[in-house]
Symmetry: C2
Subunit: 303 residues, 2 copies
């Protein structure tokens, strides 16, 4: 499984970067990096292209030894306790921030984790998901993004769209604002059954459908007209994105406290963000319409 | 002491806001707010004036009951343990972000805390400090800012400039970047002796000298010429300011997790910030000169 997943995330990185390159008329900067404690990664970042302000796609393959405290807190902690502190992890993580405020930011992450040899009950699992963060709400975009992910879930016994959709709404909650980061998608962790291959097929199906979920949305929004006020609102929403990632995101917090490669961890931050004191959306405005669904998540696929 | 300190922070807020108003040719927005659990505050924020992009000066007077866990972690925790969970706190907190990238951001905070009636050993203390965050280093600015604060320390037996300067360098450390937020100043907590009045006089002297420490620096930098590149660098430094405040600052973290007034807590964030992937200062540049002192703090007052 290690080999299969490592090959897969690299292939997916190539595929997604190639699609970005084409639409953005831009090349990425690639950095291969090593982690002192074991393993490394390959980061690719696009900046100042035609379509994206900043877009990063990162893969990593790392291994090492967990502290007993860290081990207890994670998947397998219950069964494995202090055993199998050696770990192996690989995954792909991406965040794309388009320039046009009508085009949403998107994030996806798929990962595989093993403790010890990954053979015992509870010693391996998959995690991941994808979520959409618009500055302006186009309901059909949210519906499309959710539908593609529901379809992927529905093709696999381990895929549970309703559960993963709820998990996503719960995870991307900016508590101090009372808002979600965006209109959600799917989020899951600790995905495992008796059949590792079956779980991998689900992850692959999600990853393979990332471009199907996002590109049609991007294509219909990236050339829409917008005003300076639209751009300012996008910057305010990007400020909230920064707040979520720095204050709540588990991956970011884990990276910052464990001596990860800072530039790859913070690659997820937008190029620019804005904080206006007591900014309020006008009553009845498009900005307020977005806030409404961020404050009270919608079941996009209920007709 | 409660009355004295409450009166003082309000008077200082008036004085500082009046100085900002005059130089910024701008008026502040004032919000008086109440805290559900007891007390409230008065926030004043300037936006888009001639000199400041964003400037906030906040006072608060709050009271309530500490959780036993919170109580143990704070000043007096050792002696008082589970006793005296009622608390009273008042203080002033300000952050000024000028537009011109040659003019530094400044932050100051002075506060008084009491547990119970504030009469027992260890049941009251003062805290605070002031620090300077330039995007471009002018050594004489750093020297002046430190000298004014050293002079204030030297006038009081409780003032220990060397200790408070070191504390400031340690506190405003952005660990994941290996940089301090700025060129420091003073920072202290748990200031108390047998003589409460003596401690208050020290705090007052620091507060009274805030404008002496900052305004001469602002006046000589606020009209300097600058390039678009200088402005981009300022925005990148502001991104680091956001990182410090959201990831490390104790006051911000406390506020976000205790249902504080969000807009007053996040008033400290700059209006705009920027994150460029793998930004590097050119060798020998002014940007690199700043990074050098952020990475290795300087004793500004050693001749």
């Amino acid at each position: 499984m290690r080999t299969q997943m490592v090959e897969y995330v690299h292939k997916l990185q190539d595929e997604i970067c190639s699609a970005i390159s084409q639409i953005d008329n831009n090349l990425y900067r690639e950095d291969e990096w090593e982690r002192e404690e074991g393993g490394g990664g390959r980061s690719r970042v696009f900046a100042n292209g035609e379509v994206f302000e900043k877009a990063g796609v990162n893969v990593s393959v790392v291994h090492g030894t967990l502290s007993p405290e860290a081990a207890e807190k994670m998947g397998g902690g219950h069964q494995l306790k202090g055993q199998d502190l050696e770990f192996f992890a690989t995954g792909i993580s991406l965040v794309l921030h388009p320039k046009n405020p009508m085009a949403p930011t998107v994030h996806a992450n798929y990962r595989y984790f093993e403790r010890g040899l990954g053979e015992k009950e509870g010693s391996w699992w998959f995690g991941g998901g994808a979520d959409l963060t618009p500055s302006y709400l186009f309901e059909n975009d949210a519906v499309h993004f959710h539908q593609v992910h529901k379809d992927a879930c529905d093709r696999h016994t381990v895929g549970n769209y309703n559960k993963f959709k709820q998990w996503c709404d719960d995870y991307f909650f900016i508590k101090h604002r009372g808002e979600r980061r965006g209109v959600g998608g799917i989020f899951f962790d600790d995905v495992r059954t008796d059949d590792k291959q079956e779980c991998f097929e689900f992850i692959k199906d999600c990853g393979d459908n990332f471009l199907n979920a996002y590109m049609p949305i991007l294509e219909r929004r990236m050339n829409l007209q917008f005003t300076e006020q639209n751009k300012i609102w996008q910057q305010i929403r990007r400020g909230r994105y920064v707040e979520f990632n720095l204050v709540y995101d588990r991956g970011t917090k884990f990276g910052l406290t464990t001596n990860g490669r800072i530039e790859s961890i913070l690659m997820s931050l937008p190029q620019t963000g804005r904080w206006e004191y007591c900014h309020e959306a006008e009553s009845g405005s498009e900005e307020e319409k977005l806030l409404h669904v961020l404050r009270k998540p919608v079941d996009w696929l209920v007709s």
